[in-house]
């Protein structure tokens, strides 16, 4: 290890020296960095093409490696690799909820000096907040995702209804449609016991003015939260959301809505292009709106998306940074938006006329991303989510009453927070 570290500056110096000699035929010793990331939709060569361009521009070689598709498994992979301190990892692609955990563990290099305040304002605020831990920035938003409300334009028009501004309004619209067309489904969302359920619940919670943790205190059993979760249970119990939601993940609901069987769907941004695909039964009939902010008006989407960070054990942090800078540059983001469908993390691209011409839906998304909330930004997030998942599942399936489940969740959450507070 030490030998390697000592070797690096030498290698860098010799690179510079060689470059200074400017011998046209001598190729400087190339630095190689390793970039590990999740599966790229549409195939890995779409990203590779961009990395090749980076290699030509910078003279740095990039080895990129696609990890298994499941986010949980990627999480586990990074944890074992980062904890084990393996040196063959420079640039890490992280789900938005991992950044505080990895930062707390000391597995990432702080990027605050590389990204000054002014540069940060060019990105959406929510992902920057999610990448900030204990006052330091540990990741640069690469592409963003957010929960949105898909609705059937044709159905809403036929009933003379506008986009719902609040959850109760949405429920009222569903009731009206289902009264006339009982074979349709009302509102689909992800109710399986997993991370996606927490994402949906946080959106309802925010719209009713509630929160999970606020200023170090557990607020999950507040009157606002009770009202929010009573609403969720009511959606299932009254049949406004069909029983299938209690076992559904993103794809399960996307397929049902995509076959034209439902009026509303809460899902991530990726679903849009699938609805608009040729041969899709709902093509041209789907609208996309922000998550209803009401009744309290404070609601917004749950933030998703991926961030790039530098592993602490990287022997080439400067070269790793060069890659991050390149991949989050406007032109690279625009390119990935066109080829892969990644939604840019830079706000300005949503006003870019050329990009809008290719991706007409962009301006409709900006409101949702602007109003997105990061999930609780704490290194304890995985533990919080593990406590919330079964309790919310118990509420929506009627296994526990709302008050009982929230009280259990509050007690468990408080226990975890206290425990961490006394363990320095």
């Amino acid at each position: 290890m030490f030998k390697l570290k000592r070797f690096v500056p030498v290698a860098l110096l010799s690179t510079v020296a060689l470059a200074a000699c400017d011998g046209p035929q001598t190729r400087p010793t190339q630095v190689t960095i390793v970039f590990r990331h999740g599966k790229v939709p549409g195939g890995p060569n779409l990203l590779r093409e961009l990395l090749d361009r980076f290699e030509n521009e910078s003279g740095i070689r990039v080895v990129d490696e696609t990890l298994p598709a499941s986010t949980d498994i990627q999480h586990q992979y990074f944890i074992t690799t980062l904890e084990g301190g393996r040196s063959d990892l420079d640039v890490v692609s992280m789900d938005v909820i991992w950044v505080p955990e990895f930062s707390r563990a000391g597995w990432l290099l702080p990027l605050s000096e590389r990204v000054p305040g002014a540069a940060r304002t060019l990105f959406f605020r929510a992902p920057i907040d999610a990448c900030t831990f204990a006052g330091d920035l540990y990741g640069v938003p690469w592409y963003v995702d957010a929960g949105v409300l898909y609705y059937r334009k044709d159905i809403l028009e036929a009933y003379g209804m506008g986009i719902p501004e609040s959850y109760p309004e949405l429920a009222g619209q569903v009731r009206r449609v289902l009264a006339r067309e009982p074979t349709l489904y009302g509102f689909l969302w992800q109710g399986k016991q997993y991370e996606g359920l927490v994402c949906c619940a946080l959106e309802v919670l925010a719209s009713f003015g509630g929160s999970v943790v606020s200023k170090g205190r557990v607020t999950i059993a507040s009157p606002e939260a009770r009202e929010a979760f009573r609403f969720m249970r009511e959606m299932v119990a009254s049949g406004m959301s069909p029983p299938l939601v209690t076992t559904a993940d993103e794809e399960a609901t996307r397929l049902v809505f995509g076959s034209g069987r439902a009026v509303f769907l809460r899902n991530w941004l990726y679903a849009w292009s699938l609805f608009e695909r040729e041969g899709s039964p709902v093509r041209g009939k789907v609208g996309v709106a922000p998550i209803p902010p009401g009744p309290s008006g404070t609601g917004g989407s749950t933030l998703g998306g991926w961030q790039l960070g530098i592993a602490r054990q990287s022997s080439h942090p400067d070269q790793a940074w060069a890659l991050i800078e390149f991949l989050t540059r406007p032109d690279s983001q625009a390119r990935l938006a066109r080829t892969v469908g990644y939604r840019p993390s830079r706000r300005s691209l949503y006003d870019d006329a050329a990009l809008i011409r290719d991706i007409p839906v962009l301006p409709q998304l900006v409101g949702s991303i602007d109003r997105a909330h990061p999930r609780p930004v704490t290194a304890l997030y995985p533990a919080l989510s593990q406590i919330l998942q079964p309790e919310i599942s118990a509420i929506i399936t009627g296994v526990k009453g709302v008050d009982e489940a929230l009280e259990d969740a509050r007690r468990e959450l408080q226990l975890v927070l206290d425990e961490m507070a006394c363990d320095p």
Partner: protein, 301 residues
């Protein structure tokens, strides 16, 4: 003398790889888990200290652990009972001589050779409320009026998982029992029949008692296997809804690899290990006691 020494050396040389493999692959990790279970180890928070029995004390008051233990036991007992009874029926059937027996024997094994994750994905589709085969069939015969969310219903989810497990592992039980049947000399049944015993009498008086060792092995294997069930349920429900299908293995996985509490996770794993140890002692005990009870006095040494 020298011959004996060199013989012993050869024997040691042959034993060494096995001993080494067991030490490295079984003993070392086991000791490590025991060591971890007495520590508070959370790498994310830089916590790694000795905690004595803290983890085990916490375990006692952890209702999620006990719920998972209950789910695991329920799953194992119900699934294994059905599998052994069904397996026995299938074994008796394919033990008979009939045309195409080889083909039937091979066909019965198909579910067993498909990887569990694949069968679980398949069952996930069968149970799909909207597009699944299960609802389609039950609606065709008018047993249900609307779609049932099998995996999203707190009552049905665990039973749906049991059915998927029964479908997959009954062939294994049948295979073990078939081997047991094959080891019973046919002349015993022939002799009984000559003495005027009916089919049922032959089955209860000859076949079952002689099949007891095979039955014991089958129950033990299947019980230990289903006590650590993870993959099928993880794919089908992830432990939901409301933790009604969360088994000990799934809880352990979540604590160890999703919330990174290595100490507590190891304590849960160790307790699971202890529980299945106790359970297998009970099963073996019950099996051999009932064997002694049915043995006729002539057999006594």
């Amino acid at each position: 003398m020298t011959d004996q020494v060199s013989e012993r050396r050869t024997a040691l040389a042959f034993l060494l790889p096995g001993a080494l493999a067991v030490t490295v692959l079984v003993f070392v990790p086991l000791v490590w888990v025991v060591w971890l279970s007495f520590r508070r180890a959370m790498p994310v928070f830089g916590v790694d200290r000795f905690a004595g029995l803290e983890n085990f004390v916490h375990l006692f008051s952890d209702s999620r652990f006990w719920a998972a233990a209950g789910n695991t036991l329920y799953f194992a007992v119900v699934a294994v009972s059905i599998e052994v009874i069904l397996g026995l029926a299938i074994a008796l059937l394919i033990h008979q001589r009939f045309r195409g027996r080889g083909l039937v024997r091979a066909a019965v094994l198909i579910p067993w050779v498909i990887p569990t994750v694949v069968t679980a994905r398949m069952w996930e589709w069968i149970y799909n409320p909207e597009f699944g085969l299960m609802n389609y069939l039950l609606r065709t015969v008018s047993l249900i009026s609307g779609p049932v969310s099998w995996l999203g219903d707190p009552f049905w989810a665990i039973h749906a998982a049991i059915l998927a497990d029964v479908w997959k592992t009954t062939p294994f039980a049948a295979l073990l029992l078939l081997a047991g049947l094959a080891s019973i000399p046919p002349d015993l049944a022939d002799a009984a029949r000559v003495d005027g015993a009916g089919l049922w009498q032959v089955f209860t008086q000859i076949t079952l008692p002689l099949l007891r060792p095979a039955l014991l092995v089958t129950v033990l294997f299947r019980f230990l296997d289903s006590f650590r069930v993870f993959d099928a349920i993880y794919v089908l429900t992830g432990g939901g809804p409301a933790n009604t299908t969360e088994t000990l293995a799934i809880y352990t996985y979540k604590v160890l690899f999703q919330t990174m509490r290595f100490g507590y996770g190891s304590a849960i794993a160790l307790s699971t290990f202890a529980m299945s140890g106790v359970a297998s002692i009970v099963i073996v005990g019950l099996g051999s006691r009932s064997a002694r009870a049915t043995r006729s006095p002539d057999d006594a040494p």
